[in-house]
């Protein structure tokens, strides 16, 4: 049995948090109950990993089984990777019946015909997602199991979530295989990236609580005003302003939890408008990059106006992120033909 496989399994175990190891191994199902009972899960992770690797060697684990464990780990901790969203387009309108086996076969054949050294594994997950794990090699080297790409595909939707690894050069090949296998016409990258896979799904499948413009804003008396009435001796002079800010914020962001994204990037290619005496840079567009980053960007944007750090209403460039399903923007100079600034892909 290949020592590299045992080492690979051992490394995966080291990544798993200690209290999850047992449940994940049970889910994996490769080691029997009796074998699992012989392992002491209370010791240091180093030792646990070595014990488990030993057991796997006894069972002659091969790379296929190790890959399944890797997929399970990534399914439980998708937030360790950065995910990009791709959208596929169909030429015609008919929805063909989706055959999983056909998809898997076509995908495998397409990839393997182009690149012989590649490991491909599939696993279905809850909520109808198909997870594909790909380890890339070159015509001369075996696949590198430590640098894998993951693809999450919901067969009923045209969206694919890809966590590419360092080998970006294989991306076109991956995309080609995907459209061939799923009978789509072409695939394009959306400008949407984040660590949180579930949030990306929420944005793209429109599962977050959206807000629609209403003529009658929700009456604010319903809101719990516990803080205000707590001490009647404290009087807020700017209550109207506060309520206005809250209302605008509610219109922009809605009520419920917001999808979790970590950054928004704006590439500006606009003219530099300044004092006419400064004769600098007024011929060509001024290029600059503005990047907002936060552990939870949308929540922090939502709290800017109530905290007094920004004027309400916030710029639509910031609030349109979930609706437009993008967090990378390019802003060009407004031309004489178009009103307002031109936001382009």
């Amino acid at each position: 049995m290949d020592e590299t496989v045992a080492e690979y399994i051992r490394r995966i175990i080291l990544k798993i948090p200690r209290d999850e190891i047992k449940t994940m191994l049970k889910k994996w199902g490769f080691l029997s109950e009796i074998q699992l009972q012989t392992v002491n899960f209370c010791q240091v992770k180093e030792n646990i990993s070595r014990d488990v690797a030993q057991l796997c060697e006894e069972n002659s684990a091969d790379i296929k089984q190790a890959a399944v464990l890797d997929i399970i780990y990534n399914q439980t901790h998708p937030n360790k990777r950065v995910w990009s969203v791709y959208q596929m387009n169909k030429a015609g309108e008919e929805m063909e019946f989706f055959d999983l086996r056909y998809f898997k076969n076509k995908f495998k054949r397409r990839l393997q015909s182009a690149l012989k050294n590649v490991t491909i594994n599939f696993k279905e997950h809850e909520d109808n997602a198909i997870w594909i794990r790909i380890a890339w090699g070159t015509p001369y080297k075996k696949p590198n199991q430590y640098k894998t790409s993951y693809v999450v595909y919901h067969s009923q939707t045209p969206y694919v979530f890809i966590s590419a690894s360092v080998f970006k050069s294989n991306l076109p090949l991956l995309c080609q295989a995907l459209i061939a296998a799923s009978n789509y016409h072409d695939i394009s990258e959306m400008e949407l990236r984040s660590h949180s896979l579930n949030s990306l799904k929420d944005i793209v499948f429109k599962r977050y609580s959206q807000n629609f413009q209403t003529y009658y804003p929700r009456p604010l008396q319903e809101r719990p005003v516990a803080q205000e009435s707590a001490d009647l001796r404290i009087i807020q002079e700017n209550r109207n302003e506060k309520e206005r800010i809250e209302r605008l914020n509610w219109e922009a962001f809605g009520d419920g939890p917001l999808p979790k994204i970590e950054f928004a990037q704006y590439k500006l290619e606009t003219m530099f408008k300044s004092n006419p005496k400064l004769d600098v840079l007024d011929k060509e567009p001024f290029r600059c990059l503005v990047k907002f980053s936060s552990p939870h960007l949308l929540e922090s944007l939502k709290s800017l106006a109530p905290a007094g750090m920004a004027d309400a209403p916030l710029s639509t460039l910031l609030t349109c992120i979930p609706q437009k399903a993008r967090n990378y923007f390019r802003i060009r100079e407004r031309t004489a033909l178009l009103p307002g600034s031109f936001v382009s892909p």
Binding site: I235, E237, N238, N240, E241, G308, M309
Partner: protein
């Protein structure tokens, strides 16, 4: 009465009692806070500056995050003849002490302490270096 800036909204003019002490809160972590204070202080009637105004600088526990020019604050205290106090609202002990100090000042400004006027107290609060 808490307000985010001056002038106060005029809708509540008839409901407002007499104002005895104005405390301007400046957060050293926020340049905007200082700027807001500088703008609002110009809306205060001159008679308040005889001891009825004070500047309270908060957030001094986190000196690393200091974003305002301390000289500007000292200067403002000098120009408007008003004391500058410091506190850290995140520490409960300091919070309580500062509140007690302000209450004491308020008592004087409202005239509840016989023999001490707000002007005489204000002159006691001036730093010796100012003269």
């Amino acid at each position: 009465h808490l307000a985010t800036s001056l002038p106060l909204p005029s809708e509540r003019d008839h409901l407002r009692p007499r104002i005895d002490l104005i405390v301007f809160l400046i957060d050293i972590k926020s340049k905007y806070s200082l700027k807001n204070t500088e703008v609002s202080v110009h809306h205060v009637d001159a008679s308040f500056f005889l001891g009825k105004v004070c500047f309270l600088v908060t957030g001094v526990g986190r000196v690393n995050y200091c974003n305002v020019d301390m000289n500007a604050i000292w200067k403002m205290g000098e120009v408007f003849c008003s004391p500058v106090l410091f506190c850290e609202l995140e520490l409960e002990g300091v919070q309580v002490t500062t509140a007690q100090r302000l209450l004491q000042m308020l008592q004087i400004c409202a005239g509840y302490v016989p023999g001490v006027s707000s002007l005489s107290f204000g002159s006691l609060m001036r730093r010796p270096a100012d003269d």
